[in-house]
């Protein structure tokens, strides 16, 4: 599954939602965090967590959310099918660190950039040690989500709260359609095959 989690500290819920172009669905019952396209909930320590399975984009939406606070904003995005995950940390609206787990990069299972807190090294070392002990299990995949959990208190695969507020996009939410990278590979292959067949057709006496 794909999921994006954004946590913002020290700011009102309405401000964060307005920045992200979201609003509560009036009259909708609360539920768990995967019951709706967008959900939000407040956590102890003044943290607000907004989640989405499909439509939040960490790179742009976390920056928008971080701009609303002069404290911490953290977020992560995970793709559980290729097992790719990454997390960013902002302070005062500025990107402070990022941690990326790319399964194809065996040399660096956890790529850390910026000035991360000490917890990053601690979680990373623990995961890599477990991974070395138990071959075939991807412990490093969870590290970015564990970082978000460390700050916000939201553990995505343990959370049992059912008071998540269901949200929907407002007209103000910028549309960011999923546009996969265009590739000329397929058209070229098809054109090539077609050309070869036609050429064969016409050259046979």
């Amino acid at each position: 599954m794909r999921a994006t989690l954004i946590g913002v500290q020290g700011v009102e819920l309405e401000v964060v939602l307005a920045a992200l172009g979201l609003e509560p669905i009036s009259g909708a019952p609360t539920g768990d965090w995967v019951d709706c396209d967008y959900s939000c909930r407040t956590f102890p320590g003044g943290w607000i967590v907004v989640t989405s399975q499909l439509n939040l984009d960490l790179a742009t939406d976390l920056e928008l959310a971080a701009s609303t606070t002069d404290q911490m904003a953290v977020g992560c995005e995970m793709y559980s099918i290729p097992m790719h995950s990454y997390a960013h940390g902002y302070r005062n609206g500025q990107l402070e660190w990022s941690v990326t787990h790319d399964p194809d990069d065996e040399a660096r299972p956890l790529a850390v950039e910026g000035t991360p807190p000490a917890i990053v090294a601690e979680l990373g070392a623990k995961a890599l040690k477990a991974q070395a002990d138990e071959n075939g299990v991807d412990f490093a995949f969870d590290v970015p989500m564990q970082l978000v959990a460390h700050y916000t208190g939201f553990v995505y695969d343990e959370d049992e709260a059912t008071d998540w507020v269901r949200l929907r996009a407002t007209a103000a939410r910028p549309v960011r359609p999923e546009r996969p990278r265009r590739s000329l590979w397929w058209p070229l292959l098809l054109i090539g095959l077609l050309f070869l067949i036609l050429w064969r057709w016409w050259t046979i006496p």
Binding site: Y79, R181, I204
Partner: protein, 445 residues
Amino acid sequence: MRDFQGALRRGVGDINGWIAAREAELKQGVTDLEQAAEARRRQADNAARALRANVVSGVERVVEASASRLTPRTVSPSPRPAANTHAVRTRPAPPAPPLPAPGHKTQEMLAHLNAGARGAQDAFTLGLGDHFVAGAGALGDAVQGKDIAASYQERMDRERARDAEDSQNYPAARATGQVLGVGAQVLIPGAVLGRLGVMLVPAAQGARIAQAAPLILRETAALAAAGGAVGVAGQAADDVTNRKIGTPGDYGGAIVGGTLGALAARRGNVAQASAAAGFTQSVAQDTLNGGLNTQSAARARESAVAGATVGGLVGAGVARHIDGLPMKAKELTGERLSRVRNFVRGHKTGPTQKTAHKLPGGGHTLPDLRTYKNGLPQELIESKFGRKARLSPRQIQATLELKNYRVDHSVPRDIGAALGLPSSVIFPWDWAMTQPQPEPGATAP
């Protein structure tokens, strides 16, 4: 000499007596020499007759044994008239047995096997085996003082003559051996080259995780059917491009080749699978169109090489492209492949929206898909896509605690195989083939 000087002193009468005595001695010596020479000549004649008799009987035995082993009883023209003629001229031929000897069938079978083995060796070594055998023999001859070039030429002529003899007397056995030789040629170097290719193309690597669900019978059958359909499509494309209508044997062979190629592609090496498909299709088509013929082995080899080249290049290119896709695209690809798999299994897949599933041991998992059959929930699907994709600790927990938790793992080379194999089957690579295609209904000579 002293007797002669004494006779001179004694007078003329003594001289004449001395000369007469010497003449008598000389005549006796000549007679003795003539008798000795005659005795030697008789001894030599006797020895020559005995040697000739021994050699002739030995040659006759060898010729008879070879003729009974090599000459099929069903083939009327004798390939070795000269040897038999010689045997008849020098010594009366032994009377033919009224019934086949007890080991006759075994000898005939051995002769077929030998012809097949020689055909396999020739095909496997691309004809270099004869050169090797002749060269090794010529080296042995050179050690014994013979001329190496002349010996090599003589032995090569002998190998060629034997191959020609096999082609004439045992065409089916030799053709079958050649086809098997090509099969081994495809198999053995293909295994090495296939691994080398995988080493050179990282996108073609990646082992499925141990927890991945294997294909069930229904999926295997669907895969085989898809391969057969691709074979039919390939033959149809060939017919269209060549403006002809293929025989039932052509289509039957194409189905066999496509099916085997698809099943072989399960192992993930599309070049090897395409080679197997090309080889099998060619052999099956020749067999169904009347039997293997003299071009079968060469055609099978070319089909295998062409299939491996086209399938390998397309498969590697596709795998490389897929491997380089962004993570979002890989996420979608993996999920779509799982949906296809559910469809083949006869299950319906739930909506895209994920829901959490509580685990008995604590925590919960978020499966990528849920399947339904007759409205009833069936399985929770965890999809994986990528060369290095593994399960997370929570997903490992789910595999241990949930009975209906299935892990699908696809790798880029799967898509490479799915496109590479059809390309190799459909692609009209027969332009590059040097061996003539069989005419419909062609039979083995």
